[in-house]
C-alpha cells in the first residue's frame, strides 16, 4: 500500500459466517447497495466498495460467508484464499451475536492469520431482546481486538466500527491465538521453522502459524499449495513425520486436535462474556418453525405458498404484459409509418419492424411475469423460509437423486432458465450442481408458454387448460426421469451431504428485495438486448435473403434450411416451417411463435387457418413436446458454459435436450397415429 500518497489508502476485507449480516454491514460501510440473502453463500462474486473516511480511502471487499478457513465450497475457497494470500490491511469480522459461540470458531482462525481485525458484533438488538448480555469489553480483551456492537439495518455502531478500522494500526491490540497445548504448539513451532528455511515459501507464509497448523491437520489444499510451491520433498516427509508423532501422542487426528482446541477457545470465551447463554426459552424462530416445519402441516403450507406465488406471478403479471404488448405494437406501427413517410429503404423498415421490434418486444413481454416471480422468491429467500423449503423437500428431492438445495433453482427455472442456472451456485458439490444444471432446461420456463398458448388455443380450444397442464406435468416428469438417469449413469454412488444452517427468520427489507428482483430482471433484460437482439436480426436476415425475396416467403434462405432439415422433423409430423421455427427457437423460444406466424404467412389469412395448414392437432401436440424439451435458448447455453466451465457438459446438455425431445415427440406422434388421433 502506498502510504506516501496524500490521502492514505487501506484495504479491508469483510468476513464472517453466512447469514451473519455481513453483506448488510458491508452495505452500511460503503453505501453500495447489494443483495442481502438468507441462503448460506448468496454472495458469490467478489464485491468491492469504496468509502472515504477522515481522508483515508478505504477499499472494502465483501468476502463470501464462511464457517471456517478450511473451505468446503468454491465460495469459501474465495474467502480463504483472499485472507491468506492477498493480505488485506485489516479484516472486519462480522459476527451474529445470537450465534456468538459458533462464530468465535472462525474468529479463532482469523486471529492466527496475524492480520489486524475488528469484530462487528452484529444483530445486537436481537441479542438484547432475547435477554442475553454480552460483555464486549471483556470479549475485546480476550480476543485481543476491538469489538463494536452493531445493528446493520439501523446503522447502529457503524460509525464506531469505521473509527476502529481506521485506527486499528495505532491501537495497541495484540490478538491472542488459540493455545493448542504443549505438544501441538511444539510441533507447530517446528513446522514454522522448517517452512521459513525454504526461501521460496517465505513470501507465501506471512501467516506461518496458521499454515503450519493447517499442515499438521493435513489440510489437502494447503498441502498442495505448500508442497507444490517448494521443490523439496524432504519438507513434506518431515512434516508428515511430525504429524504422525503428534497424532500418536494425542490419540486422534490432527484435524480433530485443532478443531477441538479452537472450539474450546471459542466456548471458553463465550461462557466468560455471556450471561444467560442457554436457550431454554423458545425464540420467535422456534415458534414460527413449530408451524412452518410441522411434521404434517409443513409440506401443505409450503405447497400453498408456492401455489400463491404462481397465481400472483401470472395473475398480476397479466396487466403489465398487455401494456407492453400494446406498446410494442404501437412502436412497430408508428415506426412503419415514419419510415414510409421518410422514404427509407424497404429493407431498413423491415429490419427494424419485423426483425428487432418483433423479436425483442416478444421477449420483453415476459418481463412482468419474471420480475414478479423473482420478487416473491427474494422475499422467501431473505426471510429465511427458502432454507426451510430445502429442509422440507430434501427427502423428496433426495429420492429423485437431487439435493434439497436444487429446489430453488428449479422454482426459478419456471420463470427463466438463465437465473436458475446461476442460482445453482448455492450447491456446494460440483456433481450436484452439474446434475441440477443438466435438468434445468427441462423445467418449463415462461418463454415457452406463448408457443403452447398459441398452439393450444388454435388446436385444443376446448381443453387448452388441460393441454397446458400436461406440458407442466411432462416437464416435471422429464426432469425427474433425467435426474434419475444421470444419477445412475454418470454420477453413480453420489450421495452429497446435506448439512445446512437454518438461519433465524427476519422481516426482509423492501430495499433488499427490490434490489434482488432488479438484479435478476436486469439479467433477463440484458439477454433481450444482446443475445435475442442478435438472434432476431439473424433470423430476419435469413428470412429476407436473398435480396428481392419477399419477407419470409418460400424463396428465402430460411425456407431452404427448413427444407433441408425437413426429414429430421418428419417423424413427429412437422414440415419445413416447423423445422425453421425450431431452429430459430435456439435463439429464444418466443421466436418460435413469431417464426410460425411469419412463415405461415399469417398476414394473408387468419392465424388459425394458417396454422391448420401446417399442423394437425396431433402434430401440433408433438411439436409442443419437442419445444418443451429441447434446449431453451442460446442464453441458457451461454450461461451453462459459464457456470460449468466446460464445453463438454454444455454439449451434453444440448445433445441430451435434442435427443430426448426428438424421441418423445416422435413417440407421441407415432403412438397418437396408431391410436387413431390425427
Amino acid at each position: 500500500m502506498e502510504t506516501s500518497s496524500p490521502s492514505q489508502k487501506i484495504r479491508v476485507a469483510v468476513a464472517g459466517n453466512p447469514n451473519s449480516g455481513k453483506t448488510s454491514i458491508f452495505n452500511a460501510l460503503t453505501g453500495m447497495r447489494q443483495h442481502v440473502g438468507n441462503w448460506p453463500g448468496v454472495t458469490v462474486e467478489k464485491i468491492v466498495g469504496h468509502a472515504v473516511y477522515d481522508d483515508i480511502d478505504i477499499e472494502f471487499i465483501d468476502l463470501p460467508g464462511t464457517y471456517s478457513l478450511s473451505p468446503y465450497s468454491p465460495d469459501e475457497r474465495v474467502a480463504r484464499d483472499f485472507l491468506l494470500f492477498e493480505r488485506p490491511d485489516a479484516v472486519c469480522v462480522v459476527v451474529d451475536g445470537t450465534s456468538l459461540e459458533r462464530s468465535l470458531y472462525l474468529v479463532a482462525q482469523i486471529v492466527e492469520l496475524n492480520i489486524p481485525f475488528v469484530l462487528a458484533l452484529n444483530m445486537i438488538d436481537i441479542v438484547e431482546a432475547r435477554g442475553m448480555k454480552i460483555d464486549t469489553e471483556k470479549l475485546s480483551a480476550l480476543i485481543g481486538a476491538p469489538v463494536v456492537p452493531t445493528v446493520a439495518r439501523s446503522r447502529r455502531g457503524i460509525r464506531e466500527l469505521v473509527r476502529e478500522i481506521i485506527h486499528i494500526k495505532d491501537n495497541e491490540y495484540y490478538p491472542v491465538p488459540v493455545d493448542y497445548g504443549k505438544e501441538t504448539e511444539r510441533a507447530i513451532l517446528n513446522v514454522v521453522e522448517k517452512i521459513s528455511l525454504a526461501p521460496q515459501l517465505a513470501k507465501k507464509c506471512h501467516t506461518g502459524r496458521f499454515i503450519s497448523a493447517m499442515l499438521l491437520a493435513g489440510d489437502p489444499e494447503i498441502e498442495g499449495l505448500i508442497y507444490g510451491a517448494s521443490e523439496n520433498s524432504e519438507l513434506e516427509a518431515e512434516i508428515a513425520e511430525l504429524r504422525m508423532k503428534l497424532e500418536a501422542r494425542e490419540r486422534t487426528d490432527g484435524e480433530t486436535i485443532l478443531a477441538n482446541a479452537r472450539h474450546g477457545w471459542a466456548s471458553g470465551i463465550f461462557h466468560e462474556v455471556v450471561e444467560h447463554p442457554t436457550h431454554d426459552e423458545p425464540t420467535v424462530t422456534d415458534k414460527i418453525d413449530d408451524v412452518l416445519l410441522h411434521k404434517f402441516l409443513g409440506l401443505p403450507i409450503f405447497g400453498v405458498a408456492m401455489f400463491l406465488v404462481f397465481m400472483a406471478t401470472f395473475g398480476l403479471g397479466r396487466f403489465p404484459t398487455v401494456w407492453i404488448e400494446a406498446f410494442f405494437g404501437w412502436l412497430g406501427g408508428s415506426l412503419d409509418g415514419l419510415f414510409a413517410s421518410l422514404g427509407a429503404p424497404e429493407i431498413l423498415n423491415s429490419l427494424v419492424v419485423n426483425g428487432i421490434i418483433e423479436g425483442v418486444g416478444g421477449v420483453l413481454v415476459f418481463l412482468p411475469n419474471i420480475a414478479i416471480l423473482f420478487f416473491f422468491v427474494a422475499i422467501l429467500e431473505d426471510s429465511g423460509y427458502m432454507a426451510r423449503a430445502a429442509f422440507l423437500v430434501d427427502n423428496i428431492m433426495h429420492r429423485m437423486g437431487l439435493h434439497g438445495k436444487s429446489f430453488i433453482p428449479i422454482i426459478l427455472g419456471f420463470g427463466c432458465t438463465v437465473p436458475a442456472v446461476m442460482a445453482t451456485r448455492t450447491l456446494e458439490n460440483r456433481e450436484d450442481r452439474l446434475l441440477t444444471i443438466l435438468i434445468l432446461p427441462f423445467v418449463l420456463c415462461s418463454a415457452r408458454i406463448p408457443v403452447f398458448v398459441l398452439l393450444s388455443s388454435i388446436f385444443f380450444a376446448r381443453c387448452a387448460g388441460i393441454v397446458m397442464f400436461s406440458m407442466y406435468l411432462l416437464s416435471i416428469l422429464v426432469a425427474i426421469f433425467t435426474a434419475k438417469l444421470l444419477k445412475t449413469a454418470i454420477f453413480p454412488g453420489l450421495t452429497t451431504p446435506f448439512v445446512m444452517e437454518l438461519p433465524p427468520y427476519h422481516v426482509p427489507s423492501l430495499r433488499g428485495i427490490l434490489l434482488h428482483t432488479w438484479e435478476r430482471s436486469w439479467a433477463f433484460i440484458r439477454k433481450a438486448g444482446t443475445v435475442i437482439l442478435v438472434g432476431s436480426v439473424i433470423i430476419w436476415a435469413l428470412g429476407s435473403m436473398p435480396p428481392g425475396a419477399e419477407y419470409a416467403s418460400e424463396g428465402t434462405w430460411a425456407a431452404s434450411i427448413g427444407k433441408f432439415l425437413e426429414p429430421l422433423v418428419k417423424p413427429f409430423g412437422s414440415n419445413w416451417i416447423g423445422a425453421v421455427a425450431l431452429l430459430f427457437g435456439f435463439a429464444a423460444k418466443e421466436i418460435v411463435v413469431s417464426t410460425l406466424t411469419v412463415l405461415a404467412g399469417a398476414g394473408d389469412i387468419a392465424l388459425g387457418g394458417a396454422m391448420r395448414e401446417i399442423f394437425t392437432p396431433l402434430s401440433a401436440y408433438a411439436f409442443m413436446v419437442f419445444t418443451l424439451i429441447y434446449t431453451p435458448c442460446i442464453a441458457t447455453v451461454a450461461v451453462i458454459k459459464k457456470e460449468t466451465q466446460s464445453w463438454k457438459w454444455t454439449a451434453v446438455s444440448v445433445a441430451l435436450g435434442l435427443a430426448l425431445a426428438w424421441i418423445l415427440a416422435t413417440l407421441v406422434y407415432t403412438v397418437g397415429s396408431v391410436l387413431g388421433f390425427s
Binding site: S70, K287, D290, L293, F391, L392, N395, F498, V499
Partner: protein, 104 residues
C-alpha cells in the same frame, strides 16, 4: 450412541465426529465438537432431515450425516417442546399432534 437415533426434543452431548473427509470437517466447523450439547428439535417425516440446535444455531442434516456424530444422551434436560406450548397455536398444535389438549 449416534445422533440420528436421538428422539426429537431430547438433548445429547457430542463425543466425537466419526468418518472422514470434507463432510466431517464441515460438521466440526458447524459446531459439532467434543463436549458440545446439541438439541434435536425435529425430524422431517419419512427419514427426512433432522433439525438440531448446536451452539445457538439451527442446523439441518440428513440421518446419514447425523450417523457420523457420536453422542451421549442427556436424560435430565428436556427441550422446550416438552414443556408445552404457550400462545396462539398451543391448543391446536397439541391436539393435532397428540389428540389431546394438554402436554404429553
Amino acid at each position: 450412541m449416534r445422533l440420528d437415533i436421538i428422539q426429537d426434543g431430547e438433548f445429547a452431548q457430542v463425543i466425537d465426529v466419526c468418518g472422514q473427509g470434507p463432510i466431517r470437517a464441515r460438521l466440526m466447523d458447524m459446531g459439532f465438537s467434543r463436549g458440545t450439547t446439541v438439541e434435536v428439535i425435529r425430524k422431517a417425516p419419512m427419514g427426512g432431515p433432522i433439525e438440531v440446535r448446536v451452539k445457538g444455531t439451527l442446523v439441518s442434516l440428513r440421518p446419514q450425516e447425523a450417523m457420523m456424530v457420536e453422542v451421549a444422551p442427556i436424560v435430565r434436560r428436556r427441550g422446550y417442546r416438552h414443556r408445552g406450548r404457550r400462545g396462539f397455536f398451543r391448543g391446536f398444535m397439541n391436539f393435532f399432534e397428540n389428540g389431546t389438549d394438554g402436554d404429553k
